[in-house]
């Protein structure tokens, strides 16, 4: 049947674009039999160039993607277990970093950007997460007002990944589908989450794995949706929901690629199974702490359209360079191919560019995921629900108080 479809599609008697070449179930069957053809999103560029998308869609079953970027909206839920007598923790500190405990009773959420109360920006929630994944002991101090059922009012102890019940990363916003590049028009150096920006357009920073980035290889969210199994931090996790600030309505190029921040993913994964090869704490000078999260998503090549989408290259992906000082409305459109060349021209001046997202790690993840799929260790999933495709513009927060 499949062969018949391919033959028909090749003869042009069927509109190939919307005609599925294979289903996710068929691809998973091939994976289980060790017969799936798996390539990385970078390898796919050449395959489509050489063979055309129609043939590439027949040849390739899965394209793997990868990214390793600072993702501030990350953190983890941890359940510490109950002490005797028990405590309903109301305030919790992990290595002196406050974790949110306004849930029951020994659960807390440690956020990547929360800073240490004693060390400030030198240590934050991201470092607690890295230490936890490394198996280190973490000092837990918790307070409570005490209740009849939870009489204890404070506790000091140590926790680690071996003695807590659950520890799962739940990141409300990861894998931003494209992002604005940053520069600085003012006379002073500014310190931002996009790195140190030198005065008078002294440099430009950008943050994406571009042609290897998950959501840039499935720009219209055809295969990545709620429930999609993903590689996160070295473990297998899932897309839990659309990410916060998911904005599919962003302006797009004719190839469907958004120009600037668009879709996002909320991801979940077992932190006990993660590795610091793929999760690292980071400090941005005078900004604070954040977490490098390594994510890879396999994309099933269901049809010719997905072959086209996964063959996207940096020259086809555009973003705007914006003034992060907020002093001007400067904006200049640029392709990632230009940004990756090391220089762009702003106001007739050659300005050096620098990435903030690791291509070395992104490639490592895409390669590792490719091997896992090839070996049958990582199966693909049909999304339980699609991500929103046409959301309304993002809300602005108006000042409504005094």
């Amino acid at each position: 049947m499949l062969l018949a479809l391919i033959a028909a599609s090749e003869s042009g008697s069927i509109g190939a674009i919307d005609m599925p070449v294979k289903t996710i179930d068929e691809i998973n069957e091939k994976i289980s039999e060790g017969k799936a053809v798996v390539v990385t999103a970078e390898e796919m560029i050449g395959i489509v160039e050489e063979n055309g998308p129609k043939k590439a869609a027949q040849m390739v079953d899965v394209v793997t993607t990868g990214t390793f970027s600072p993702m501030c909206s990350s953190g983890a839920f941890i359940n510490f277990g109950h002490s005797s007598p028990p405590i309903r923790m109301t305030r919790v500190w992990l290595n002196d970093v406050m974790a949110y405990a306004g849930i029951a009773a020994v659960d807390a959420y440690i956020g990547a950007t929360e800073l240490s109360e004693s060390q400030g920006m030198a240590y934050g929630g991201a470092h607690v997460i890295e230490d936890f994944i490394n198996g280190k002991d973490i000092r837990l101090y918790a307070e409570s007002y005490g209740t009849d059922c939870y009489p204890r009012k404070s506790i000091t102890t140590t926790i680690n990944k071996y003695n807590v019940n659950q520890a799962y990363m739940f990141n409300p916003r990861n894998c931003y589908q494209n992002y604005a590049a940053a520069t600085n028009s003012t006379d002073k150096t500014i310190y931002t989450y996009m790195g140190t920006l030198l005065p008078q357009f002294g440099n430009v920073t950008y943050c994406t794995s571009g042609q290897l980035s998950p959501l840039l290889n499935d720009p219209e969210y055809r295969t990545i949706g709620i429930g999609t199994r993903v590689f996160i931090g070295g473990a297998q996790g899932y897309v839990a929901f659309e990410g916060t600030q998911h904005n599919p309505g962003q302006e797009r190029m004719p190839n469907g690629i958004p120009i600037g921040p668009a879709g996002t993913l909320a991801l979940i994964g077992d932190m006990k199974k993660m590795s610091t090869s793929f999760v690292r704490a980071a400090i941005y000078e005078k900004y604070g702490t954040t977490l490098f999260v390594g994510v890879g998503i396999p994309i099933p090549i269901l049809d010719e359209d997905m072959a086209v989408k996964t063959s996207v290259s940096d020259k086809d992906i555009y973003t705007n360079i914006v003034d992060k000082s907020g002093k001007t409305s400067f904006s200049q459109r640029v392709s990632y191919q230009e940004l990756r060349s090391g220089f762009v021209t702003i106001n007739n001046k050659k300005v050096p560019t620098a990435p903030l997202s690791s291509m070395v790690k992104a490639r490592e993840i895409a390669q590792l995921l490719k091997m896992q799929v090839q070996k049958g260790e990582f199966l693909l999933t049909m999304p339980a629900e699609k991500l929103p495709q046409n959301a309304k513009p993002l809300n602005k927060l108006d000042v409504r108080g005094d």
């Binding site: 140190t196 030198l198 620098a354 990435p355 690791s358 070395v360």
Partner: protein
Amino acid sequence: MKKVKVSLTFPPSKVTFPLMTLLVRDFGLEVNILHADIHLNRTGKLIVELSGEEESIDKALQFINGQEIKYHLFNGMLTWQEEECVHCGACTSVCPSRALSMSAPDFYLTFNKEECLVCGLCIKACPLRLLHLAHRGNETA
């Protein structure tokens, strides 16, 4: 022949002092200005590379010391914990000499010690804090 890298901080009264000319004319040094940040009547900061006889360099530094100009000798060196590096590229965004650089196709960070000015800008730009200054240099008050 000796070569040293020095940062010079000029007080407001000395911003217009023609130090570079004197170093060339009176001390026979070769001067290479690597970085300059000069604000008239406020402060001036220079990073220079001085080449010449060791004795001439020592005399020149003594002379600078007598001019209320602070100098800092970069006889230290930058160290990079390469095995911990994730090759994000943040340090390359601030490196004035491109001693720290990465480029297509592999985007691995490379560090060329010869090119390094030991300016220290990268130390705080590294999100993983993997760049350090080893053996801090002599400093005058």
